[in-house]
């Protein structure tokens, strides 16, 4: 069995060497398909995590007039917590707000000087409300506007993440559709090239195949090397793709991270390295086997 497998590998390798340029073109085309394939997987995950992060950052801030006592604000908080649309409310006192503001603007001397000039805490106490669902924020705002404590508020502030979330969602969907179209096109091209590589291999080994048949080579012994050739093409394409991906992440990961902070591209790639390799190798080998099988059924009659 091992001897037969070795011989099959030898024949497959011979076939690839004889048509080296075609094999190279085939591996390159498969590599492109796999690059898009893996990019889509990674992008899909990143887009989802970005949307989730943005959704998590959404909240309503109620800023109270400076003369409203803390007990009143805490009472309003308890009232609001009874609303089933609200998940949680965080109270930020005037002091805490000032502390955060000072910490944030410690490298900005102008703001620090302005605070010194004012001499007292100009910031308002606030309640930060998180809804159970991102779609409920507008309804919560409406109920606050109609509430009895409405006149105690300076402003109701809804972070504008909703628009960003829907924009990211739309963009992600567009990119997914684009990637899918690219995958289909490149997979088809890979299939056509791989099919032709195997066809050429069948032609170049025509004499061997004829003699194999005459001396009693089994069906699988004759077909095996060509299927192996398809598998090897898929494998080489997958390995090349993962090397290119790793290089891109190593060289450009930090820059991409600077451009879109919190994206977690490098972290995601390295923590899912084997998963991505497994998926794209399976896809590559599947592509190789299908094209070889198709070519064998068309051009190799035993």
């Amino acid at each position: 069995m091992i001897a037969i497998l070795k011989r099959m590998f030898k024949t497959a390798w011979q076939g690839m060497k004889r048509n080296n340029w075609l094999t190279l073109a085939c591996v390159a085309m498969m590599m492109l398909s796999l690059l898009i394939f893996s990019s889509t997987i990674i992008f899909n995950h990143l887009a989802n995590s970005l949307v989730n992060t943005l959704k998590e950052k959404m909240d309503i801030s109620l800023y109270f007039k400076t003369d409203v006592p803390e007990e009143d604000i805490l009472k309003i908080r308890d009232e609001l917590l009874a609303n089933e649309l609200i998940a949680k409310i965080n109270y930020v006192s005037k002091e805490e707000a000032l502390e955060t503001f000072e910490e944030r603007s410690k490298y900005n001397p102008t703001i620090q000087k302005a605070l010194e000039v004012i001499g007292e805490n100009p910031l308002a106490a606030s309640l930060n409300i998180k809804a159970k669902n991102t779609t409920d924020y507008n309804q919560i705002i409406e109920s606050i506007k109609n509430s009895a404590f409405q006149d105690k508020l300076i402003t109701i502030d809804l972070t504008e993440n909703q628009k960003i979330v829907s924009r990211v969602d739309t963009l992600a969907r567009a990119i997914k559709i684009g990637s899918l179209a690219a995958i289909i096109l490149l997979t088809f091209l890979s299939f056509v090239i791989s099919f032709n590589t195997i066809r050429m291999a069948i032609y170049s080994l025509k004499e061997e195949i004829e003699i194999m048949k005459l001396v009693g080579g089994s069906n699988w012994f004759i077909r095996g090397p060509f299927l192996l050739e398809g598998i090897l093409q898929g494998l080489f394409a997958s390995l090349t793709t993962i090397i290119i991906f790793s290089l891109i992440i190593l060289l450009l990961g930090a820059r991409i991270e600077n451009f879109i902070p919190g994206l977690g591209l490098s972290t995601y790639f390295w923590s899912h390295f084997w998963f991505i390799l497994f998926l794209q190798t399976t896809f590559g080998i599947f592509l190789g086997i299908i094209s070889s099988f198709w070519a064998l059924n068309h051009y190799l009659k035993i």
Partner: protein, 245 residues
């Protein structure tokens, strides 16, 4: 396939039931409506030497191709070792071809392999282990008197040597039958006789041989069974026959 042979000894007639190696039963073959073989029936026994004679295009090669299941009959049945060839599954076809060695006029040797490698190829394909290949190939090459040419490529060999390499390749799997399709067609008379002598020697060692030829001199000198084909039909089947077409 069982068949009956009538033997006369000292005025007594005996009916002898024997199992044939090859049995063609009412076999016809046509290509695009043109009839190549027409209702051919014959048997061939284990260890027998049969010459198949007839003009070019009479259907000799088609008949041989049907025996190794390269072609299927349009009508009729073909048996080898009691198994109907038409009904073989793909893996059984491979096994059939290992039992039948084939020798062609145009050699069909791999040009980029030496004589040793060409013979070894048949064993590799059948899945024999390397140790066995290393042991058996030199023995067969010796049998065909090519022990000194084992490392020669086909372009370094004469036509006769090439044909002997082909015979070695056909013999390497110890077949029950050797099919030789015009094996002397590309050879000079001396080399032709060498090949025929080799086939006779192989037959004497127990392997059946079916020789398709239109070389009258060879057939007449052999003095073995001759099946004559004309217009797709067997017109004569004689033990110790002659080429009479």
């Amino acid at each position: 396939m069982d068949s009956i042979r009538i033997v006369r000894i000292n005025s007594h007639i005996y009916i002898d039931k024997i199992m044939s190696l090859v049995y063609f039963k009412n076999v016809s073959k046509s290509y695009n409506g043109s009839l190549i073989l027409d209702n051919v029936t014959f048997t061939m026994e284990t260890g027998e030497f049969v010459s198949l004679v007839g003009r070019s295009g009479v259907g000799k090669t088609t008949l041989l191709k049907m025996l190794i299941r390269e072609e299927l009959p349009t009508k009729g049945k073909i048996f080898f070792d009691d198994k109907e060839i038409n009904k073989l599954k793909p893996n059984e076809i491979a096994l059939l071809r290992r039992k039948i060695g084939v020798v062609f006029q145009d050699f069909k040797l791999l040009p980029d392999r030496t004589a040793f490698e060409n013979v070894a190829f048949a064993m590799e394909v059948a899945g024999y282990p390397n140790e066995m290949i290393k042991k058996d190939v030199p023995e067969v090459l010796k049998l065909v008197n090519l022990q000194n040419k084992a490392d020669n490529f086909p372009y370094q060999m004469s036509a006769g040597e090439k044909q002997r390499t082909v015979i070695a390749r056909a013999l390497i799997q110890r077949p029950e039958l050797i099919l030789a399709d015009e094996p002397t067609g590309n050879l000079d008379p001396i080399n032709s006789w060498d090949i025929i002598k080799l086939l006779v020697k192989i037959n004497e060692l127990g392997t059946a041989v079916m020789l398709a030829t239109h070389d009258k001199e060879i057939v007449n000198t052999l003095g073995k069974r001759v099946i004559s084909l004309e217009n797709g039909k067997i017109i004569r089947d004689e033990q110790e026959g002659k080429y009479l077409i």
